[in-house]
């Protein structure tokens, strides 16, 4: 396939197009796709007149609305589509005027010839399996080629009857390859060493330079940047308040992976499904943060289900764009208009990504959204291990006492003891009294509760309060404890309404309507539910009763918790009898009393912007500071239970002993206190540990549903349910022995036969070096995407890449040592006419440095750059006031970094999605709110203003002055020029610069105060010790140099 040379690029191409049949894949299909498929393509729901033109069967099928077929191969007059295309009747002509699409005469000519030649369809090029072997062409000029890549390029250039450009000057090549492999310009030393080596053997000097650059840690930093764009990496959540988050360990993992040359199939697999790999390492789990980098909201009033759908959709879109270069967005609302992806496939793919314990929001910057991964450093890990060891030891001590306490217990039992249930009672409210509830006396001595004017009704005994759903009883000073502390809560309630939504009986929490942390006791559809929450549901424990609580009668409910941080440590009771429960959440770390919004006071029947216990009546609340034993719970409900148990002490020995251990035995109670303290130490050890959101699979996958028009609240029925199994066999079949989970999906993705994965990736690497991919639309390989300029080369590169173990550095090496890459980039008059966009690569690549590169280049050339690997983001100079808080008072303030952190590589600069650094945006950085594969390259006056006036660049110019000041006077300007342009200035350039120097000296001599002001700018003290007039004049000269095309373009 794809034998045909692509001449569309070059209208004046000398090759006679007429001798060859029209190519469906390269000439016809792009027209049909762009002009016809939106209405006559794969989307069955919107197919006009039932006509489908994207396959031969559809085109030949009898028309619904008129006799005949759309296309009759070889017969224009019988082809209804052709007749409509050439019609002048606005009612008839295709495409219809309302589409604003039209066919040019050239396009009509291609369609005409295609029909005449038999209207043959071919499959879309990029969906064809990657060939096992790709033949390398033999160009006439064999000597030019340095490797296989060049044979493809040269053959194509020859076919177009063009000549390649001469090799770039070695220094130009060195600058190019250094910028392209590390993002930084070559240092003076690099240049000198290269020149020395090149004098003896240019070819081996180049090879050695490439090896050096590929081994540099700067390589990974540079290659990470486009991956961060694609993965929508940022240091804030996005959406309106846009609080800061901390994903940077994942960013550092990306850098490390590129530097370590982690095979790209593994690089992809880890990110999609690292958590599911057998015995997954910390890095493998960390890699899955990729799927959690999407924006998250904490806007009050948001609906969880809406954002769970948004999160899933963003993961699918990003997966599609990053790995497959397919646009999945369309398919959220309807079958794809161009590519063979159905809505069913979209939501089936979504089912791979929707099954983690997430809530859909974040609440505050203090708590990482679950599920997360703890990333302790070595010292923290040691501390945590030690704390856990202490817990194990304390538990053993508890066990030891339990086992060795029989004689003490027997002595106690022999004394016919009364029920000890009042032990550790810390709060008791009877709600008794007349009139609306106000200050309520606590008979156990806790501070008075506040009834907030709630009505009193007749209770189970005496009076009870009746809740209205919006007002609660505040319980100051109670339950202000963490998950290491045991408790028992018992109360008598009557549910008179039976709200279907969860009803809060009691909680202690901080938070807004999008997130709480603390303790919760809920009635959900009548079921009693208890939770201890840091971030529901992935960082929490919880149980729910299997049977509902009876409505409209008094029910004595209770919740005991033993401080063990496990669901098994919770028990629910109804009228003194334990309820059967199921676990709703079972993993928790860090504190559940993290402050945030609100005061964290315990409440009955009310929570901020939540449905309280509307119509609920509450009586006789008791809170204990320990988990009462089952027999005690029974006794609380019915005191006779105690005497009955004592009466048959033999049969009830176990239950009685539990009571004794819990409430009486000071030895055991002492060990429990130690256990509690050991558990508190674990929480303390966890608190300081860095946590990052990752993927963690639910035990049972959630089903997905095809949501009409993509709306989260569209109906979900059995009919539109999808699962991972319903993901159809698109592109290549799902490996039969692969699990139907993300790991299986990763295997499907990295299958060596996969038509897209490797092609898409090598194309993007190619674009890193040539500015443009072999397929220009690096983000779209679908039917509406661009066509490869060198299809066979793309296939060869992809196959070569896969068969050599997805080795990124090897691929880079092959490209940068090619003759094609090494050509001079100067525009030639013949190419200006024939191939201005340089698709044929008859000259070398040239393009402006990226936003990060421009700043890094200035820091590096001036000697300001601080090289330190990774870590938390830093905050460089920002102009104006506090741009973070200017229009967003919910945002934290911008705190500029000091010292070395001001001068780190831009990759490490803090990235706030709704207020990104303006000097980066000016040079086309995306906001990173969504996946971005391709940055535009624009040229605006704002860029000039940044480079001329931004403190960062002015300071860099001044530092460059200091850097060259050690040289003799006449060498300073050339050295500054060389530091930026990596070549000496030409005579003309040197003259202009020296004139500029003279002029500026005059300017500052006339106004010495200005010179001092200019030198005062920025934190760096560089050049402040020099003669101010000279230093200021040279600063302006260096500014000019930093602003040159020779500086900020890679040519």
């Amino acid at each position: 396939m794809l034998r045909r040379l692509l001449i569309l690029l070059i209208p004046a191409a000398p090759l006679g197009a007429a001798e060859k049949p029209v190519s469906y894949a390269f000439e016809v299909r792009p027209i049909l796709s762009d002009k016809c498929f939106a209405c006559h393509g794969p989307d069955a729901a919107k197919r006009e007149s039932g006509l489908r033109l994207d396959n031969a069967e559809g085109a030949a099928a009898p028309l619904k609305d008129s006799p005949g077929s759309a296309i009759v191969p070889g017969d224009l007059s019988k082809s209804a589509a052709w007749q409509r295309i050439i019609s002048h009747d606005p009612e008839q002509v295709m495409p219809p005027p309302s589409s604003h699409l039209s066919l040019s005469d050239g396009e009509k000519g291609i369609l005409r010839r295609w029909i005449e030649e038999g209207a043959k369809y071919e499959p879309h090029w990029s969906f064809q399996p990657l060939p096992e072997k790709v033949a390398v062409p033999q160009p006439k000029d064999e000597a030019w080629a340095k490797g296989e890549i060049d044979r493809f390029i040269r053959a194509r250039i020859e076919a177009e009857q063009l000549q390649p450009s001469s090799a770039a000057d070695p220094l130009r090549w060195l600058r190019r390859v250094t910028l392209d492999l590390t993002g930084l310009p070559p240092s003076t030393e690099d240049i000198a060493a290269f020149q020395a080596a090149a004098r003896s053997d240019l070819s081996s000097a180049k090879s050695a330079a490439v090896d050096r650059l590929l081994a540099s840690p700067r390589f990974g930093e540079h290659f990470a940047v486009p991956w961060l764009d694609a993965a929508r990496y940022a240091d804030s959540y996005g959406y309106q308040s846009d609080l800061l988050t901390a994903f940077w360990p994942w960013r550092d993992w990306v850098v490390r992976s590129f530097n370590a040359n982690l095979p790209i199939d593994q690089f992809m697999t880890w990110q999609v499904a690292g958590d599911l790999l057998p015995d997954a390492t910390r890095d493998q789990k960390l890699a899955t943060t990729f799927n959690r980098l999407h924006r998250l909201t904490n806007e009050g009033g948001s609906v969880a289900e809406e954002f769970l759908v948004e999160n899933m959709a963003d993961r699918v879109h990003t997966f599609g764009s990053v790995f497959l270069a397919l646009t999945m967005e369309c398919t959220r609302c309807h079958d794809h208009k161009y590519d063979p992806i159905s809505m069913r496939d979209y939501y089936s793919l979504g089912a791979f990504f929707n099954s983690i314990p997430e809530r859909g929001f974040y609440n505050s910057a203090a708590i990482q959204p679950s599920p997360g991964l703890l990333l302790p450093d070595a010292e923290q890990e040691k501390k945590l291990e030690e704390a856990n060891r202490q817990v194990v030891a304390a538990m053993a001590a508890v066990e030891k006492r339990r086992a060795g306490s029989d004689s003490d217990f027997d002595a106690w039992l022999a004394s016919a003891p009364p029920s000890p249930a009042a032990t550790d009672l810390v709060s008791h409210l009877t709600f008794d009294g007349d009139g609306p509830a106000s200050a309520l006396v606590d008979t156990a001595g806790a501070p008075p509760a506040n009834g907030n004017g709630l009505a009193r009704v007749t209770g189970k005994s005496g009076a009870a309060v009746k809740l209205d759903g919006d007002t609660g009883v505040a319980l100051p000073g109670r339950l202000a404890q963490d998950r290491c502390d045991p408790w028992t809560v018992e109360m008598v309630i009557r549910d008179t309404v039976g709200n279907p939504a969860s009803v809060i009986l009691l909680h202690r929490s901080f938070g807004t309507d999008v997130g709480f942390n603390g303790l919760e006791l809920l009635l959900a559809g009548g079921h009693l539910e208890a939770r201890v929450v840091r971030d529901w549901p992935g960082n929490a424990i919880g149980v729910r009763s299997l049977t509902p609580i009876p409505r409209e009668q008094w029910a004595r409910i209770a919740w005991t918790y033993d401080g063990s941080s496990s669901a098994a440590g919770m028990r629910l009771y109804l009228d003194g009898a334990p309820l059967e429960t199921e676990t709703t959440a079972g993993m928790i770390w860090k504190s559940v009393t993290t402050g945030g919004h609100g005061d964290g006071a315990a409440m009955i029947g009310q929570r901020f912007r939540d449905r309280g216990f509307l119509g609920g009546e509450v009586d006789d609340l008791k809170i204990f500071k320990r988990a009462l034993a089952p027999l005690e719970m029974a006794t609380l409900a019915d005191p006779a239970k105690w005497t009955a148990a004592l009466a048959d002490a033999g049969a009830n020995r176990g239950a009685l002993k539990e009571v004794w251990l819990s409430s009486v035995d000071e030895n055991h109670r002492g060990e429990l206190m130690k256990l509690r303290d050991a558990r508190a130490a674990v929480i303390a050890a966890e608190e300081g540990i860095f946590e990052i959101p990752v993927m963690r699979e639910l035990e049972k996958p959630r089903p997905g549903h095809i949501l009409a028009r993509g709306a989260y609240d569209a109906s979900r029925t059995k009919d539109n349910e999808v699962t991972r199994e319903t993901f159809s066999q698109i592109l290549i079949s799902f490996p039969e022995d692969a699990p139907r989970d993300r790991l299986g999906l990763a295997r499907w993705l990295t299958d060596p036969r996969h038509p897209l994965t490797s092609r898409v990736f090598v194309n993007r690497v190619w674009a890193n070096f040539f500015g443009t991919g072999i397929v220009e639309s690096v983000d779209n390989f679908g039917l509406q995407g661009g066509l490869p300029s060198h299809p066979e080369l793309l296939d060869w590169l992809a196959r070569d890449f896969v068969s050599h173990g997805w080795d990124l550095k090897r691929l880079c090496r092959e490209i940068v040592l090619s003759a094609a890459y090494g050509q001079d980039s100067k525009m030639r008059s013949d190419l200006a006419q024939r191939d201005p966009a340089n698709r044929l690569l008859a000259r070398g690549p040239s393009r402006r440095l990226s936003s990060e590169q421009i700043r890094d280049f200035a820091l590096s050339a001036s000697g300001l750059l601080q090289q330190r690997d990774g870590g938390a983001p830093v905050s460089p100079y920002q102009p104006g006031g506090d741009l973070w808080r200017e229009s967003n008072t919910m945002s934290p303030a911008y705190h500029r970094s000091n010292g070395p952190d001001l001068y780190r590589r831009s990759l490490y600069s803090v990235w706030k999605r709704t207020a990104p650094l303006p000097n980066m945006l000016a040079f086309d950085s995306p906001t990173r709110e969504v996946c971005t594969i391709r940055r535009p390259q624009t040229n605006t006056p704002l860029q000039a203003l940044v480079l001329l006036n931004d403190a960062q660049f002015v300071e860099a110019a001044r530092s460059l002055v200091a850097k060259v000041n050690v040289l003799p006077v006449e060498k300073r300007v050339p050295a500054a020029f060389e530091a930026c342009a990596s070549r000496p200035p030409t005579g003309q350039e040197a003259t202009l610069l020296s004139e500029l120097h003279e002029e500026q000296l005059a300017v500052f001599k006339a106004d010495p105060e200005s010179a001092k002001k200019l030198l005062a700018l920025g934190d760096s003290t560089a050049a402040r010790d020099l003669d101010p007039i000279e230093a200021a004049a040279m600063t302006v000269v260096c500014q000019a140099i930093l602003n040159l095309d020779a500086s900020i373009w890679n040519r």
């Binding site: 229009s887 500026q1000 300017v1003 002001k1013 200019l1014």
Partner: protein, 487 residues
């Protein structure tokens, strides 16, 4: 899009402007802030408006307290919103769980004004005085119920981030009329707080970044990076730029890359902006009468009033799209006090802008738009008391007003039911508006966007951009020009 440029075979027009091209001189200059790329979508009918001043009221002003007179709410104050009125419409998580949702009548008096008899609240005396110049659309509705998605939807046509804003679309479609100022300028009232605003709302999305809105700030540097660093005087800068230009020209002669010429031109433009921007943002030359017209606040840089005055100056200089934002309308609680303050900050200057434009003969081709991202509920969020109430977000109906540039003055379009809860016909019967099927009488955000583009001479279905293989447009696949609003 991207029609071939006949004089440069093989070059698309887009490439041509992106890359610049040797020998095009003036065209390269004009491209700096984005000229029209839309040869094919260029106005097929005469535009009524040449520019837009959009007074965006962020947070969602309460229509029941400003424009949409609902005596029934006063009558039934405190009674629950009837189920048949609410229907199955969703509420936000903020009030959905409220045990009761009591109707809240406005505390403010309404009266009819002008020949048109428009009902306007006592909170807006200045707006009331120009009622006959305004067109009220009372039957607006939107898709989103929370601020971020709703304001993003209003300004970019999508709730999801990543799409170009309305101003970016217009810059892309129509370019700039002033070679020294950006075509799309954003002014945000200083120090307002409340619901955040962010660059996405005036972003370029997938369009080139030259189409993004440029925020003008009050203070020393109206545009970030505009001022020379301390110690650099303008003559020294000029001398340096001349040498820089000469050096870049040397490079051009060797590389022959038209991008270099384009860069040289960008530096000249930047230099001119250093004069033109301070010139336009310096309000000190305005006569006393103008300050009196716009109100005392207009003397304070960064206020809404000062920004309105600045907007007029920008309009005079041919800036295509001037987007003001005023935060503070998100009155979930304590509405009566808060809305009074908001109105004091905005009423006089909004009306003054319309009058001022008219006096200068600019109103006829300047479209002024006033409104927020959604409306507010007719029931009280939180406790309804004698003195106090709050209102939650309400996407089902709200009011915006427009004036000038081809808009029919002195009319009120669309109705809501007696509860101010649903869009209704003239008899108060609910209209079941659906953006998928245009419903006369109801104006979806996409309909408003289509109408705005129409007034600017653009067919909203033709202003498209091919991104990742799909033609995107501001109105997605919806939108209908609301003919009833056109003069």
């Amino acid at each position: 899009m991207n029609p071939p440029l006949h004089s440069f075979p093989g070059l698309t027009r887009r490439h041509f402007f992106k890359a610049g091209a040797s020998g095009i001189g003036g065209a390269a200059l004009a491209s700096m802030f984005g000229e029209s790329l839309l040869a094919s979508a260029a106005p097929k009918f005469a535009p009524k408006a040449k520019r837009i001043i959009y007074l965006f009221q962020s947070g969602g002003p309460a229509q029941q307290d400003l424009f949409d007179y609902k005596p029934l709410l006063v009558e039934k104050n405190g009674e629950p919103l009837p189920d048949h009125v609410r229907g199955n419409q969703r509420l936000t998580g903020m009030s959905a769980q409220q045990a009761s949702i009591p109707l809240a009548g406005s505390h403010f008096k309404f009266a009819q004004h002008g020949q048109s008899g428009a009902w306007i609240s006592e909170l807006l005396p200045h707006t009331a005085a120009i009622a006959d110049k305004l067109c009220f659309v009372k039957s607006m509705y939107t898709d989103a119920i929370n601020h971020d998605p709703a304001i993003t939807f209003f300004q970019t046509g999508s709730q999801i981030a990543g799409r170009p804003s309305m101003g970016a679309w217009l810059s892309y479609g129509l370019g700039s009329d002033n070679a020294n100022l950006p075509g799309f300028i954003v002014l945000v009232s200083a120090g307002q707080g409340d619901q955040p605003l962010y660059a996405r709302l005036w972003g370029n999305g997938f369009l080139d970044s030259k189409y993004q809105g440029v925020q003008f700030r009050s203070g020393k540097d109206p545009v970030l990076y505009l001022s020379n660093p301390d110690g650099i005087c303008q003559s020294g800068r000029r001398a340096m730029l001349d040498k820089l230009s000469a050096l870049n020209r040397v490079q051009f002669e060797s590389e022959l890359d038209p991008e270099i010429e384009s860069r040289i031109a960008q530096y000249e433009m930047a230099y001119r902006m250093q004069t033109s921007v301070p010139d336009v943002t310096d309000l000190s030359g305005e006569p006393e009468s103008v300050y009196q017209l716009y109100g005392e606040d207009s003397r304070k840089p960064g206020t809404f009033a000062a920004n309105c005055l600045l907007a007029r100056r920008l309009a005079e200089r041919g800036v295509r799209f001037i987007q003001l934002y005023h935060q503070g309308w998100d009155q979930h609680d304590n509405l009566p006090g808060a809305i009074r303050g908001q109105c004091q900050e905005t009423d006089q200057a909004s009306a003054a802008l319309v009058r001022d434009l008219e006096q200068r003969g600019l109103l006829e081709d300047t479209l002024v738009i006033w409104g927020g991202e959604f409306g507010r509920t007719s029931y009280s969020q939180g406790k309804l008391t004698k003195d106090n109430y709050g209102r939650d977000h309400h996407p089902r109906c709200f009011t915006v007003w427009m004036a000038g540039g081809g808009i029919k003055p002195g009319i009120s379009h669309g109705h809501t039911d007696a509860y101010g809860y649903n869009i209704a016909d003239a008899d108060g019967n609910p209209l079941h508006a659906d953006k998928h099927i245009y419903t006369p009488g109801a104006v979806h955000v996409h309909d408003l966007q289509a109408t705005i583009l129409h007034l600017m001479g653009i067919d909203h279905t033709a202003l498209t951009y091919l991104h990742q293989g799909r033609r995107f447009r501001l109105t997605d696949v919806h939108g209908q020009v609301v003919k009833e609003l056109l003069a």
